[in-house]
């Protein structure tokens, strides 16, 4: 129970342990603690933020889907009307083409017919002249009846 040099020994031991603690223990532990606290804080904040972002993204996605639906309906309508148009155009073009070809064919036929008639007329008049020549050679000079023959050929 007497006071003795143990006091000095204990004081020295305490100085050593406090120094060891201040140098090797405290900074590492307290740094890790504070860093972890900060990380937890940041993590919670990030979670809150991502929650908000999620809600926002969901709303945005809804908007996009609605917009797409609207666009799709529009495109469908357009396609329908375009198809109708094309069908109508086709019909009209067909009719026109048919009429064009028809009239072309008609004109050709008429032309051919005129040509044939012209030819026929020439031939008939030539035959008539030849027959009249043969008759007149026998009777009279053909030249005297040229006007009659010309009239005849005109009439054919």
């Amino acid at each position: 129970m007497d006071l003795n040099a143990t006091i000095i020994g204990q004081t020295l031991a305490m100085i050593v342990f406090v120094w060891l603690c201040a140098k090797y223990l405290w900074p590492g532990i307290i740094d890790a603690l504070e860093e972890r606290q900060q990380q937890i804080e940041e993590g919670l904040a990030a979670a809150d933020k991502s929650q908000e972002a999620l809600v926002k993204a969901a709303a945005e996605a809804d908007d996009i889907v609605a917009e797409a639906r609207k666009q799709a309906t529009g495109i469908l309508d357009q396609a329908h009307s375009r198809a109708n148009e094309i069908v109508a155009d086709g019909k009209e073009a067909g009719t026109k083409e048919r009429e064009r070809q028809l009239s072309a064919a008609k004109a050709e036929i008429e032309q051919e017919a005129n040509k044939a008639r012209e030819e026929l007329r020439g031939q008939v008049s030539a035959i008539a002249v030849a027959s009249a020549e043969k008759i007149l050679r026998r009777e009279i000079d053909g030249k005297a009846h040229d006007d009659i023959l010309g009239k005849l050929a005109q009439e054919i």
């Binding site: 007497d2 040099a5 143990t6």
Partner: protein, 291 residues
Amino acid sequence: MAAEGGHGPQSSAEYITHHLQNLQLCKAESGDWVWNECAGNFWTINVDSMFWSVFLGTIFFLLFRAIAKKSSVGKPTKVQAALEIVVEIVDGSVKDTFHGKSRLIAPLALTIFAWVLLMNFMDLIPVDWIPVVLAQWLFGIPYMKVVPTTDVNVTFGMSIAVFFLIMYYTHKAKGPLALWYDLAMHPIAPSFKGPAILAAPLIIAFNLILEIVALFAKPLSLSLRLFGNMFAGELIFILIALMFSGNIIIGAMGGVAHILWAGFHILIVALQAFIFMMLTIVYLSLASEKH
């Protein structure tokens, strides 16, 4: 308690004094180092107190060192979490009380708290275990007090270190003359105007006496509070241990008493460690506060 003491027949008084005797080493006048013949010699070392104190301090250091080394920022292990609770308690106490900036106060407080706690916890080891094992089977060591904080030298040693720190922080915060100024000018401020100047020396002398006593009372009360609590607790454990040498009924009662007192003593152990730490912080924050 003769059978357990292992020193032949022994009276209750002998048993108690034996348990309260430190293992002492000193240099006798003949020049030889002698064990336990050191009465009146200041240059004596209480080997048991020093050994257990340094041993427990080393355990404290290694324990926290292991945590500090692999202190992962991520998910802590259970041991790490437990020790970090201690660190957070200490850190919170320091931050609440000490408003200055110091890189020493918090580690100091942690060292005091954890170290004193470990030393106090030695009190819960039944009083005969370690002394009997050492005396009979290991080294034949005659005396062994395993609770360093029941040695007044140990608590004084710690409070003297705190006392030096109080001096240092006063000096650092307020300059070299501040300590004397504080001692002389409080609690009654002397007046230097007019005839009152005649009373000034008296007032200063009064202040000095009062404040010097108060100054030295700090480390004294700090150490004696811890010592007194732990010594009383230890003494009661020894008295309870005496009951084991009685008949079986007294022995059983002793067993019940031991459990009850140990349960209660756990509170004292933790509380005294906390008080020692807390008062240290308070004294140092007072010392470093500017007026």
